[in-house]
């Protein structure tokens, strides 16, 4: 009976609307009102610093290797004290899919996600972030780890002085 079915189908939507008229709305009035994002929300990437205030990134290319859309590029260079760092570091956020794989690959905890998702621009070139745009002056999620204190190649501390190392051997010593 189509007529009966139509009449029956007529009322429920009204009922649903009526019922929700008295609920608290879930819509956030963005941008007047900022949404509350979960702590581990994955949005714009930053380059953090280690507890000593030095750049964490050592330009190891692991993040760019892990990136599925190839939006990270960089060039490594050597500082006077032997520290490896990025002479330039570029992320093309027009391409980035915010998967966070780079942060998982990063051995120094340098690259980290933030919850800043407000990066739409009219000009795609403005979405190409250089190192200056990416580098922040805090440690991000982790304020303890310092790669060069673990690496043991004499950059943050003289060779053989990190807690996990013994002093350099004397190679001309023949004692057993």
């Amino acid at each position: 009976m189509p007529l009966l079915r139509d009449i029956k189908g007529f009322f429920p939507p009204f009922w649903v609307t009526f019922r929700n008229m008295f609920r608290k709305p879930v819509t956030v009035q963005y941008p007047e009102q900022m949404p509350e994002l979960p702590e581990r929300y994955r949005a714009r990437l930053v380059l953090t610093r280690d507890p000593d205030g030095e750049e964490r990134c050592v330009a190891c290319h692991l993040c760019s290797g892990a990136c599925p859309v190839d939006c990270i590029s960089m060039q490594a260079a050597e500082a006077e004290d032997g520290r490896r760092y990025a002479s330039w570091f570029r992320i093309n956020f027009a391409r980035c899919i915010f998967c966070g794989l780079c942060t998982e690959a990063c051995p120094t905890l340098a690259i980290q996600v933030t919850s800043d998702f407000e990066i739409s621009k009219r000009d795609p070139l403005k979405l190409v972030y250089e190192k200056d745009d990416l580098l922040v002056d805090h440690c991000g999620h982790n304020d303890e780890y310092s790669f060069y204190r673990q690496a043991g190649i004499g950059v943050a501390a003289p060779r053989g002085t990190n807690p996990s190392e013994s002093a350099p051997v004397d190679v001309k010593d023949l004692l057993p």
């Binding site: 330039w88 996990s164 010593d173």
Partner: protein, 784 residues
């Protein structure tokens, strides 16, 4: 020929094969560190453990040390072996620093691979790590000793294989250290090989430090363009910059290693002044416009002044394809056949190798296996460095090496040296003198004799004499083989394409009414003898056209300049000194490196379709355009093969393969060597290539600069004393090509009656490989 079973698969291998090698034939890769095909096995790392189930010695064994036996049964994937190897990985990691992110080996590190393959991920050992202090080893090699796993590969490569003396192993127990006794530059001319040999990041290429990761590099099999041996290499580049060269394997040629000139001499590709724009004077042109102008002008001149008015000049730097198409274009426009070398004596020597000696030529592999190598007029480390290493292998397996040369030849092995002057060299080869007969007898007494013929020193005449000696020393059972050394990477190819008769560039420039000269990847100002006369001849030209990829002095004089690509930026063919027809593949595209366009900072922020500086196209493509037949490379090569039947069918070759030697022919060269009479009180002039920077490519390589030597003239102390000259004095070297002010160096290891100068970046006026000539040395004017 034992047959054995490995992991339930049977394989039959030659006697003496190890289990590790036998498994390799089955495609089973047993993890290993210290075993290396060229270096053999020492059993130092314990990584290659397998279980021998059936065999003389049963149980867990090191597969690199156990020889295959008949009926042997071996398992590589049983629990015992797998666990053992996992523990080995773990203990090799005990002291390893936590620094892969800043290590240049990362991504191509055998230790990383084996550690991951054996499943070792978490560190259980909580003790302290052993550390070392590093050494400064000079401009080429960086050391990070904490990464060492004591496999001894470096010292076996540097000392045992390549004959270096200033590197070794020191210390005892877990303090063994690999390096020099004191800080200092590694002296060997083959030092770079320890970078390839070390399975970890202890030794890395300092010139490539922090430039790229392996997985970002563009790499392709290529041929080293720095000397006539044509070693197999794999250059790598990124962001438009050629960043490094590593050795590749060609068992017939270089084996597994290359020399430092080949490894560190590649930065000519990134030369800051490299011309990348077609120009007429100060006008910028597109390549098409430039070609158009070249074509129109050449045809116009030929119409007006006849076929003699245009001269085309090919080179031994240009590929076989380019030289061949240059000849085709000459036919097309109706000028005389191109010259394929600016240096006639060198070219003629190459022709003797390409025609007369062709049925006796032998590879470097044969040199390594020889029991008697006699090098005549050859200084391997200067002319063909890897030959020095090959000679060492001959000596290591019981062979003898004898050298006849006027220069103070050094070799990385024991050898017998007879210091003779260039004229004495020719006498030695005349077949009638006592020495000559002794030489033949000596060669007759050997089982696998090889004569190394230094083409630069002997010239065509000497090479022809040497051919007779080789014939006299051969018998029905075996041939006396010849390994010639030629001027450049494609000298053989250029010689093979040209007629056995060729005239001299200068004579033609001076005697004929030449209006236009087209130089393809050559600079006669640097490569032809007597460059002053050449410079004068140039001024008579109406039009000088240069096609090149180096900022040579000649390109400055060019009326019309067309940029071409370096060998690593294009495909092509070189024929090496023994006639091996080798292909190379393109590695990077020609363009301005990002380090230049970005001025060291990040790349420019702009959208462009075409990378800046990407105008240059391969010279063979330029000539195809001129000929109006833009075919692909296989079609072109097919045509070449039809036209030049001696060539190997290109389809059977591939870049990076062992390749084949071109066929020999019955054509013969007819060159004679007149020995000019020596003017009174004169010395024989010997011009030798410097070890670094004599070939133009390494001269334009910034990385090699630390190895460039100062210009000097060398005399035997006796000759110096006779002239009242002292070591270090300022002297004048009077040659037919003019006087030169140089510093005197006395050297008692060189021939008496000779004056020796090195052609290199600091002294370019005299080029090696000329005809016999004489000179005088006297005290220079003292100024003030």
């Amino acid at each position: 020929m034992p047959t054995l079973t490995i992991d339930n698969q049977q394989v039959t291998v030659p006697d003496g094969t190890t289990v590790l090698e036998a498994a390799e034939q089955l495609g089973i890769v047993i993890p290993h560190f210290c075993y290396h095909k060229a270096l053999g096995a020492v059993g130092a790392c314990r990584m290659c453990a397998v279980t021998v189930v059936e065999g003389t010695f049963k149980g867990l064994k090191m597969s690199c040390l156990v020889k295959a036996e008949e009926g042997m049964v071996v398992t590589t994937d049983d629990q015992q072996s797998v666990e053992f190897r996992a523990r080995v990985s773990e203990w090799l990691m005990l002291n390893h620093p936590h620094d892969c992110p800043v290590c240049d080996e990362g991504g191509e590190c055998q230790l990383q691979e084996m550690t991951i393959a054996s499943g070792h991920g978490l560190r259980r050992y909580t003790g302290k790590k052993r550390t070392y202090n590093n050494q400064q080893l000079g401009p080429f090699i960086a050391q990070e000793m904490n990464r060492c796993i004591q496999c001894y590969r470096c010292v076996r490569t540097y000392k045992d294989y390549c004959g270096g003396k200033d590197f070794g192993v020191m210390g005892s127990r877990n303090r063994v250290f690999f390096g020099r006794f004191k800080d200092g530059t590694l002296e060997s001319d083959f030092s770079g090989n320890i970078v390839d040999a070390c399975p970890t990041g202890v030794f890395t290429d300092k010139t490539y430090r922090f430039k790229s990761r392996y997985w970002d590099l563009q790499e392709a099999p290529s041929i080293c363009p720095h000397c006539s041996l044509g070693c197999s290499t794999v250059p790598g580049g990124r962001y438009g910059e050629l960043q490094r060269v590593r050795s590749s394997v060609n068992e017939k040629v270089n084996g597994f290693f290359i020399c430092d000139r080949g490894r560190f001499g590649s930065s000519y590709v990134n030369h800051p002044e490299r011309p990348r724009q077609a120009t007429r004077g100060s006008w910028k042109l597109t390549v098409d416009e430039a070609l158009q102008q070249l074509d129109v002008k050449a045809r116009e001149l030929i119409n007006q002044h006849g076929p003699e008015s245009v001269l085309l000049l090919g080179s031994n730097r240009a590929s076989l394809e380019t030289n061949w198409l240059l000849q085709r274009w000459a036919e097309e426009i109706g000028c005389r056949a191109p010259l394929l070398s600016a240096h006639l004596p060198r070219h003629q020597a190459a022709q003797v190798a390409a025609f007369d000696l062709a049925d006796r030529l032998c590879s470097l592999e044969k040199v390594r296996q020889s029991d008697l190598v006699v090098a005549i007029g050859a200084d391997p480390l200067a002319e063909a460095p890897m030959l020095g290493v090959a000679l060492r292998q001959a000596v290591r397996s019981g062979g003898k090496v004898k050298v006849f040369d006027p220069r103070p030849v050094e070799l990385p092995c024991d050898f017998e040296k007879q210091t003779v002057s260039p004229t004495e060299l020719l006498d030695l080869l005349d077949g009638t003198s006592v020495e000559s007969k002794q030489l033949v007898d000596l060669l007759r007494g050997a089982e696998r004799p090889v004569l190394v013929a230094g083409g630069l020193m002997l010239g065509a005449g000497g090479m022809l004499r040497l051919k007779k000696i080789a014939a006299a020393a051969s018998n029905d059972q075996r041939n006396c083989l010849v390994h010639p050394l030629l001027g450049g990477a494609n000298s053989f190819g250029a010689a093979l394409l040209s007629l056995p008769e060729q005239d001299d560039l200068l004579t033609r420039l001076e005697s004929e009414r030449i209006k236009m000269l087209v130089c393809v990847e050559t600079d006669p100002l640097l490569e032809a003898p007597d460059n002053e006369r050449f410079a004068k001849a140039l001024s008579l030209l109406e039009e000088l056209v240069v096609l090149d990829y180096l900022p040579t002095p000649l390109s400055v004089h060019a009326n019309l300049f067309i940029p071409t690509t370096a060998p690593v930026e294009s495909e092509g063919t070189f024929i090496n000194n023994e006639g091996r027809q080798q292909l190379f593949a393109p590695v990077i595209k020609p363009r301005l490196p990002i380090s230049v366009t970005g001025e060291g900072n990040h790349p420019p922020r702009e959208f462009i379709d075409v990378a800046p500086g990407s105008d240059p196209i391969p010279s063979w493509q330029l000539f195809q355009q001129l000929l109006g037949e833009a075919t692909d490379l296989p079609t072109l090569r097919e045509k070449m093969k039809t036209a030049v039947p001696r060539l190997i069918d290109f389809e059977t070759l591939q870049p990076g393969g062992v390749s084949c030697r071109v066929a020999h022919v019955d054509e013969r060269c007819i060159y004679t060597d007149e020995i000019p009479a020596a003017p009174e009180e004169s010395l024989q002039l010997v011009v030798t290539p410097a070890r670094y920077g004599s070939d133009l490519l390494s001269r334009y390589s910034a990385k090699l600069q630390p190895r460039f030597t100062e210009a000097c003239v060398q005399l035997h102390p006796q000759d110096a004393a006779a002239r009242g000259l002292q070591d270090g004095a300022k002297v004048v070297l009077d040659t037919v090509e003019g006087p030169f002010n140089l510093t005197l160096k006395c050297n008692d290891k060189m021939a008496i009656g000779c004056a020796l100068v090195e052609n290199g970046p600091k002294f370019q006026q005299l080029v090696p490989g000329g005809k016999l000539s004489f000179c005088k040395v006297h005290a220079g004017m003292s100024h003030g």
